[in-house]
Homo-oligomer: 523 residues x 2
């Protein structure tokens, strides 16, 4: 049974029909599968029912069945000959607002064949979730956003399958995780109520759908598990992340944070889980300045500044000439600017500390990160005072959210055993820099664990480990969602966090003093 | 709750959403319905999910939901405002080879609004099931037969709804019963293996389908319960008949027979059920002669012959001039011809007994039933010797099947408490005549109960009594199907039954001797 170790792939050899046993084809197959799966219900779609008599006889009643499960109900998602050389495939999807990532999985072996990603084609309609939600308020707008996403997915799948030498028709199960708004648009559901008080999604638990009903061009009888959400601002991507990092099974309390325009956080262990989400602003996504951009060749992702010489040592992705800076680069930059005495503890540019790198345009101060002569664009790449202000607000919001969540359960942030950071952001960020600016708590760097695309990895787990299906529901139901109450107390904490690293420096013992005194900046 | 007494119609008033309870629309509705129905799973189709946010708000969260159930899983099949004046409807269908009968039902009140019927449009392709099965062996032929039936149903429904002043969109549940081959064609499934040893249907338990998947133009989220079959020759129409007459719940043993080209029989009580089916030939359907036809105006349905004068007293449907004879008329005719001494106990025409009514054409004897001068066609309506031979074979087959079934359980036919006769045939047949020719056993006439269209009535029950859904499955699973073994013993019984009423006259004490001796006919 090694080749069919997966719960989703089962080989059955049916007893041939006879006058003494005239059970129908479908009922014969269902009975064999019920025994094999110890299941009460095995569902065969009408289309597959129509193909069944011919399929059974062509394969001499020796079959490899692909299956999927929706709670207690199993569905046959594909039938092939028992010895078919074509693997049955699964598809995991992380439905990002900016990028959509996919993994093709061999279901029998639980092995990823290929990963691919593409820009979310809805960007053409609106760069951010809010613009898209507004666009979706008209039925044609909703249909357009739905089609853009599905068409983009179909095209990417066709490409990926060509590369992997397989057919999209071999995909018979998919798992999709995304934030709540993206999930609604994926399903073609109007998300307007997500952004209107009291912020109600149309659906929390979309469950298991037919791929065909969504227009996804994979196996005709394929099923799609759509990850549940907890509310308008706490989506299936986070649930997938929890599933992947196993927070909900750990003895020691851990934290998972997904950093984006919203900071989404789950804190807990095997006994309790608490989650919240709050607006952190675009700064942490690389949207901080005109030069901010997503990670790509030529994008600055590492910055070191020599405090003595103020020489900038930049690293760019693929080591191309610099043309912008990504989120992790901005955090590095801010931390280094602070340590080099070029900005003060409020994030204000210190003219005295910047020397020739100071540039004032229309009365607004900038620090030149890459002079025009060295940049790929032929223009100075700069970070402006408003960019830095935005970054400080974002990092303060992030820290305040973390602090509030920890306070709610009566623990200090320092007690967190493992601090999982989701997303590409988590992979590239230097925890030291994030601590330096006071965005993340001052824990030993080893406690920070970057997860990569934990939404995609969690989705993939649902396809390779059958038990995950119940686990996903349990995680969703177990998380107590904390509605962030932005009251005076929260605002006080936020104000205290709007310093680098914090008003209360005692919380950040590891953060060194800057090279020159910059306690109070002079404009 | 009187207006919503039906299990399928539920009114729910949802608690409005608030910041303190941000459960999504769909999950809020599902939770309310789960409580209302005491159900574990309530399914909302993707299309309905898309409409839901608007529907909930338009109706101020006060809803009337139509539901249907597929084993433990409930599905929402329609949503309206709680006080909508438009009734939610059900549709029962008897899928006959010749006629398709429909009933429109008010689901809340369990009341039939209207019945209608139409000729099965597949007749254009093939008059009988066998011709259609062969036609369906090519994929375009199968699609054609499926479409003919579905299109015919849609057209009839549109008409019926117009008459009843309702919309087909109000229909949110349907139940369909038919023989196994018709059920396959209704589902668009190739029935070729039904007629090839070992006679395997593609499916025994089609279960609950989406109407939309079948192309039935009723409510978008309507479900269709398709009655299960027991084998290629024992269909859902019989299961519906058992459900309707309640054979499976009775203390006293009863029998249900559906007479057609096949005689399908169930014998049993609340403890056991046994069924069988066998070819009876076309004679009992009115297909016995060139003048045989289905019941319609001008068709002879009653015959009396004065043994003294040999005067024929005919009754025609709607009392129009005679133009043919239906199945019940033929049985009446044969019984009367026998009692009048015009045919002998082998069914052979007695020239001496027929007088002027004898007519020989190409050496074949005929009895003139209606002289040309009195017939609507201007031609003699006659019954020929081959017609009578065919009738005797058919009635002998019928009796032998009944006898074999009774023998199998070790009881005499005379012990049967109630003898249900399904179909229009059952309504028109005169039990005395059927006993006289030895087609039915010699029971007191009061024990024969005509059921009318018990297939349609059983289908309607499934829509008005929720508990029937499990009962249908239980009936199916409880019936022991007896494969008729046409061996020497069976042939001996068949030969003995090829006399009027039977070789063993002692079995038919109530049948009188004919007017003149006709123990042995003289050709």
């Amino acid at each position: 049974m090694t080749a069919a170790a997966s719960a989703w792939i089962r080989r059955v050899h049916l007893h041939p029909a006879s006058l003494a046993d005239n059970t129908a084809d479908a009922d014969r197959l269902a009975a064999a599968l019920k025994t094999e799966l110890k299941a009460d219900t095995v569902e065969i779609d009408l289309g597959l029912l129509r193909e069944l008599p011919e399929l059974l006889r062509r394969h001499d009643f020796r079959l490899r069945c692909s299956l999927f499960r929706d709670r207690g109900r199993w569905a046959v998602t594909g039938i092939d000959g028992a010895e078919s050389p074509r693997p049955a495939l699964g598809l995991a999807v992380d439905l990002g607002t900016t990028r959509v990532a996919c993994a093709l999985i061999d279901l029998a072996q639980g092995r990823t064949l290929l990963e691919t990603a593409f820009d979310n084609p809805q960007i053409a309609v609106g760069p951010d979730v809010l613009a898209r939600i507004h666009h979706a308020e008209s039925p044609p707008g909703l249909r357009q956003l739905h089609r853009l996403l599905i068409d983009g997915l179909n095209a990417a799948l066709a490409d990926a399958c060509r590369t992997a030498g397989v057919s999209p028709q071999q995909i018979c199960a998919a798992a999709v995780a995304g934030n709540t708004a993206m999930t609604h648009l994926f399903l073609g559901i109007d998300p307007r109520w997500i952004i209107r008080e009291p912020y109600i999604p149309a659906v929390n638990r979309p469950g298991v759908m037919r791929a065909a009903a969504l227009g996804i061009e994979i196996g005709r009888y394929a099923r799609v598990l759509v990850f549940p959400n907890i509310g308008s601002y706490f989506g299936g991507d986070l649930i997938a992340g929890v599933l992947y990092c196993g927070l909900h099974r750990k003895t020691q309390t851990a934290l998972l944070v997904d950093v984006g325009t919203n900071a989404e956080v789950v804190l807990g262990n095997r006994d309790w889980l608490i989650g919240c989400a709050g607006a952190a602003g675009p700064a942490l996504e690389g949207g901080v300045s005109r030069m901010g951009m997503a990670a790509a060749p030529g994008v600055v992702d590492r910055v070191r500044i020599d405090p003595a010489t103020l020489a900038f040592d930049l690293h760019t992705i693929a080591e191309k000439a610099p043309r912008g800076i990504c989120g992790s680069g901005v955090i590095d930059l801010a931390a280094q600017l602070f340590l080099a005495g070029m900005i003060d503890l409020r994030g204000k540019i210190l003219a005295a500390g910047c020397g020739a790198r100071l540039k004032t345009v229309d009365g607004i101060r900038h620090i030149v990160v890459v002079p025009a002569a060295q940049s790929a664009t032929g223009l100075d790449l700069t970070i402006s005072q408003p960019d830095l202000d935005s970054l400080v607000r974002s990092k303060a919001a992030m820290y305040t959210i973390l602090e509030t969540l920890a306070m709610t359960v009566g623990m200090a942030l320092e007690e967190i055993g493992t601090f999982y950071v989701a997303g590409t952001f988590g992979c590239f960020i230097d925890p030291r820099s994030a601590i330096t600016i006071g965005m993340l708590p001052d824990l030993p760097p080893a406690r920070f664990v970057p997860l990569g695309n934990s939404s995609l990895k969690g989705a993939a787990m649902a396809l390779t480990d059958e038990g995950c299906l119940e686990e996903i529901d349990r995680i969703r139901d177990r998380i107590t969602y904390l509605e962030l109450n932005v009251n005076q107390e929260f605002m006080n904490r936020f104000s205290a966090a709007r310093f680098i690293p914090h008003t209360d420096r005692g919380r950040f013992p590891s953060v060194g003093r800057p090279a020159t005194t910059n306690e109070i900046g002079l404009r």
